[in-house]
């Protein structure tokens, strides 16, 4: 961690934070429609992980993918346009929030079916292994995916074939509307994979330097062809499962608790303390990100809706 990295992480985190808050507004005013799952609270993990990856590394995500896509390099104007269903969206308006793809930056896709991305990640990791590159695959998923059968099938195979895949679990203690204790007797996801004997670690997902370092260690080894690895980041899901979720199932969020766990607030404070950035720079990063978001919204609004006939194309590859 140094000033360059810290500044870039803050920049990515602000872009995600402000993007998501803006999307929430747009959803409420019906300019973005459908099922939207916000990455508020997950900015640190997305930034810390993806900052260390190249375009040729593959990242897969789940339904809560905006932060990962942005951190991996998907253009925010293209993502905003996608969410607004416009022709200049990164998927030409065909996919939407849960189906973002940007292969140019290695963002291989999001999926709407919990854990459905795990086996896909194995496939990409296998090709990386077979072709002998030092590229790696990262797959993001939540603690809810861990109870799905395909999680276990993927873990066994990844361990058996020693694939260069890094499983990054954002354990926010909630799966949809129920708490983890209603889903499993095992609190820590890293304990669920314990029988398979590969390297795993649990870190505080709000502590961005800790996530950065832990992931960095695994990444170094994975680039040499080793694997798999599991990085469990304990995070806090700031908002409801989806935008509009009345959250009857949670106690009202204590502002003090959020302040403790807000990765962005913590990273800013730490960066200033460590001298990686000063306050004016931190402020400038935030303002710059805000301007980028507004530009993205303008871009999206200016983009026309797709020609409906586009929907009948692209079903098959030629």
């Amino acid at each position: 961690m140094d000033r360059v990295v810290a500044a870039e992480l803050l920049r990515t985190m602000w872009r995600i934070r402000l993007f998501e808050e803006r999307v929430a507004q747009l959803k409420r005013s019906l300019q973005v429609h459908g099922l939207i799952h916000l990455s508020l609270g997950g900015e640190g993990v997305a930034a810390a992980v993806c900052r260390q990856l190249r375009d040729s590394d593959a990242v897969y995500s789940g339904h809560r993918a905006h932060g990962h896509a942005i951190a991996k390099g998907a253009p925010i104007d293209g993502v905003m346009a996608e969410l607004m269903g416009r022709k200049d969206g990164i998927c030409q308006g065909l996919g939407g929030s849960m189906h973002l793809v940007d292969t140019a930056h290695g963002f291989m896709g999001a999926t709407g079916v919990v854990g459905g991305n795990l086996p896909l990640a194995l496939g990409t990791a296998l090709t990386q292994h077979l072709t002998g590159t030092d590229n790696v695959t990262v797959v993001f998923f939540g603690d809810g995916a861990v109870q799905a059968g395909h999680f276990n099938e993927s873990i066994n195979l990844a361990a058996l074939w020693r694939l260069p895949v890094i499983f990054v679990c954002e354990n926010n203690g909630m799966a949809e509307f129920t708490a983890r204790e209603e889903h499993s007797t095992i609190e820590r996801v890293s304990d669920v994979v314990a029988p398979y004997g590969f390297e795993r670690i649990t870190v505080n997902g709000s502590d961005v330097p800790a996530v950065y370092d832990a992931f960095g260690d695994f990444l170094k080894q994975a680039r040499k062809g080793a694997g798999p690895y599991l990085l469990e980041c304990v995070t806090y899901r700031r908002a409801g499962h989806y935008e509009g979720d009345p959250e009857k199932y949670r106690d009202p969020v204590a502002e003090q608790e959020w302040a403790q766990r807000d990765p962005l607030a913590r990273m800013t404070a730490r960066a200033i303390t460590e001298g990686w950035v000063d306050e004016p720079t931190a402020g400038a990063i935030e303002r710059h990100a805000a301007a980028e978001i507004e530009e993205a919204v303008r871009f999206a609004r200016d983009s026309p809706f797709p020609d409906p006939e586009l929907s009948a194309k692209l079903v098959y590859a030629r």
Binding site: G149, F151, E153, L160, I186, D191, V193, P195, G197
Partner: protein, 345 residues
């Protein structure tokens, strides 16, 4: 836990022999009456100690589900072997009227609630039986469910999901993995990360907060004790256990799969045909659980040779009669296939 008295030990030996003799008859049918058995059969020879040791722990009202390698369970539970053989031969007086065949035996009255032909898919169903047992909360004695499956199934998502749920809800189920080290023609080390690391598969239990126990599945008493302890846990409301029962199947995975016109038969074990490891197979034959248990009981004076021979003769007669019955039994009326009553309740 009750000590095993002589009667029970003799019962266990008898059931093991009955399973062995039955399975031998199935295998022989391919040679002696080609064309009579169609499709795919899977034999339990080598697993008798594990099956009987497990079933010896059952109390009235308990239930179980198994895989397509299912003949042994209803045999030990007392289902008429004539009807089982007739089912395998596709005859009208088969256990399921000829509708199911070798892989889909079911005898609900004796607690054998069925099988699945798809690896691992019976595990969640057995978990559902345990859920029902919990709902009933029967306490005299509390009901337990045994879920039998193979090591191949432990890679299936169904295994993971079921064990997690059973543990979370403390369902009264005992998961019995009969690990014969092969999944058809693949060795466990080729497909299981734990096996590849030389670890017991019972280690998987740690991911579900339940005890994982590995037991010698060729020793019926060891199995009885392990399953009995697990059943006791379940009956007491303490939840499920994973038991890895190590066995060696003495036949190939099943008879060959071939299109009509090609005679079906049992090839040699995959250890030989795929891996060229005859030594492994022969060592397993030397460790055959059935004659070993007989010898042990004779040595401990639970049985004498004369009695053992008498039992063996009785079993052979029973199984010969089963074959004869099945060969003579007519086929079902073809129109029975359209019996709407069996499509819909």
């Amino acid at each position: 836990m009750t000590e095993l008295d002589n009667d029970k030990l003799v019962w266990m030996f008898t059931q093991m022999l009955r399973i062995r003799e039955f399975e031998e008859r199935v295998k022989r049918t391919f040679e002696e009456h080609p064309g009579v058995i169609r499709g795919h059969t899977h034999l339990a020879d080598g697993a008798e100690a594990s099956i009987v040791g497990s079933l010896a722990t059952l109390k009235p009202g308990d239930q179980l589900m198994a895989t397509y390698r299912c003949h042994g369970y209803p045999i030990a539970l007392g289902t008429d072997t004539k009807s089982i053989m007739a089912e395998i031969y596709g005859r009208k007086d088969g256990l399921c009227g000829g509708y199911g065949g070798s892989m889909h035996l079911v005898d609900p009255e004796r607690g054998f609630m069925g099988t699945s032909g798809i690896v691992g898919q019976g595990i969640p169903q057995a978990t559902g039986l345990a859920f029902a047992a919990q709902l009933r909360n029967r306490s005299h004695p509390p009901q337990v469910v045994l879920s039998f499956f193979g090591d191949g199934a432990s890679k299936q998502g169904a295994f993971h999901e079921s064990l997690n749920l059973a543990s979370l809800w403390k369902l009264p189920v005992v998961y019995i993995m009969e690990n014969n080290n092969y999944n058809v023609a693949t060795r466990s080390e080729q497909e299981d990360a734990n096996a590849a690391a030389g670890e017991p598969l019972s280690r998987k239990a740690a991911a579900y907060s339940m005890p994982g126990v590995t037991v010698d599945g060729t020793d019926p008493i060891a199995v009885y004790e392990a399953v009995g302890a697990a059943a006791g846990r379940a009956r007491a409301g303490d939840g499920p256990t994973l038991i890895e029962s190590k066995v060696y199947r003495l036949s190939a995975h099943g008879n060959i799969i071939a299109p009509p016109g090609v005679p079906l038969h049992y090839p040699e074990h995959e250890a030989i045909t795929v891996f060229g490891n005859r030594a492994e197979y022969e060592a397993a034959l030397r460790g055959d659980p059935v004659p070993r248990f007989r010898a042990r009981l004779v040595e401990q004076s639970v049985l004498d040779q004369a009695r053992a021979d008498e039992i063996a003769q009785g079993v052979r007669d029973e199984m010969d009669a089963a074959v004869k019955f099945a060969l003579d039994d007519p086929f079902p009326d073809p129109e029975a296939a359209a019996k709407i009553d069996y499509v819909y309740a």
